[in-house]
Structure formats: structure tokens, C-alpha cells
Symmetry: C2
Subunit: 123 residues, 2 copies
């Protein structure tokens, strides 16, 4: 018998966002304006490598959550933005974010700083 989790909408949703850098990427794109590859690469203080960024972008694209647009220029320009599915997905971040805030209060995690990404704009 096949793994029923593969066919579960909830599992699908969670898998779509659980790559190591996907929340970061999605949050960067969540304000609606397209972002260039280099822009995504440089706007985190962490060492997000090219290999990782590329693989995460490819997965998100394959899953229909973002689109990739290549401009035929030299040097090349590639822009990424959310699809309709991607935009819907981002709206669900809100309750998750709220749960996290509540959770941090009761489980005494470090309170600050946390991502100053576009996430709050979703509210």
C-alpha cells in the first residue's frame, strides 16, 4: 500500500514549506514585488549558499508556489515571484506565526530578534 501521507492535503502543505530556506524565500516574496536571485542571496545575514538558494527556488517552482522569469539580458536577470497558490499559502502563515508568538511566551524562548521579513505585512 502506498503511503497515505503523500496524498494528504495537510502533509502536502507542510512539505511545501518545510525546506530549510523556504520560509525565508517566501517571506521575501510575500510583499508582492518580484525579487532577483542575487537579491535573495544577499539579503540574509546567514550564509545561504548559491547551491541551496537554487535548489530551494527550484523546488518551490516545481511545486507551483513561485514563478521564475528570465530576462534575456547580459548579465542575466532572473526574477522570482509568488503564484496564486503561493500567495494563498502565505496568508496561512499568519495563524502559524500567532501560534509561535504564543508558544514563545509560555515556553520562554528568546523573544527577540526574529525575522524582520515581510511576514508581518501579511496581517
Amino acid at each position: 500500500m502506498r503511503d497515505p501521507r503523500l496524498h494528504c492535503p495537510l502533509t502536502l502543505a507542510v512539505k511545501a514549506i518545510s525546506g530549510k530556506w523556504k520560509l525565508y524565500i517566501l517571506s521575501m516574496l510575500s510583499d508582492g514585488t518580484p525579487k532577483r536571485y542575487g537579491e535573495l542571496l544577499k539579503s540574509t545575514c546567514e550564509n545561504l549558499t548559491e547551491k541551496m538558494l537554487t535548489s530551494q527556488l527550484r523546488e518551490l517552482e516545481k511545486d507551483g508556489i513561485i514563478t521564475r522569469k528570465v530576462y534575456p539580458e547580459v548579465p542575466p536577470r532572473v526574477e522570482y515571484m509568488l503564484t496564486e497558490s503561493g500567495r494563498k499559502l502565505c496568508t496561512i502563515f499568519e495563524p502559524l506565526y500567532e501560534w509561535g508568538v504564543d508558544y514563545m511566551k509560555t515556553h520562554r524562548h528568546d523573544q527577540l530578534p526574529w525575522l524582520e521579513m515581510g511576514l508581518k505585512k501579511l496581517a
Copy 2:
């Protein structure tokens, strides 16, 4: 500088549910009745191993999402159930689930079967 993702409520929430068997476990517990170790182990057609079940349960417990209750009997009896945080977390599954349903419609995934877990009861 530290990784801001570690301090992001959203990241925390997603990490809490992204273990390989966590959604399964959470869905089993989401009806509110405590479940025994062996019950969780046997109620999936997939080969969830003892090692994996134990590690996933330990993580959920460490994260304060489930509780573990040992009854001093022989043979031993151990029951797991959701904490308050865990129950709150499960309510967020609903929008994620809905997104997944919508996503499957537009991305022509196999439609059935999917997990007949307690998830729909959350509605």
C-alpha cells in the same frame, strides 16, 4: 550573528510540525483521547519503526506539544496526549488542510486516498 530564523515564531511553528511522523502522531492525538505507544505504532499501514516513533514522540514532548504519562504497571503502559499548545497547534491544521485541498485541485495530484486521521474532526 545568530540565525534569525531560530527566533522567528513562524519558523518555530513550522519546525514543530515538520518531523517525518509528527503530523501522523498529532492527527492521531487530535481527537483528544490519549493514545498508547503500541497503538500509535500499529495504527498506520506504513512501516513506522519503534526507533522513529520514539524519537518523534521525544521531540514533540521536548517541544511541549505532547505529554507522556507512564503507568507503573507490568507490562508497562505509556500514554501520550496533546498539551494546550498542542491542541492550539492542531487547530491551525485546518487552513493548511484547506490550502492542500485547493492546491490538489489545481495541480492535479492524486485525489484519493489520503489520511483518514482525526484531522477532519478539527473542523
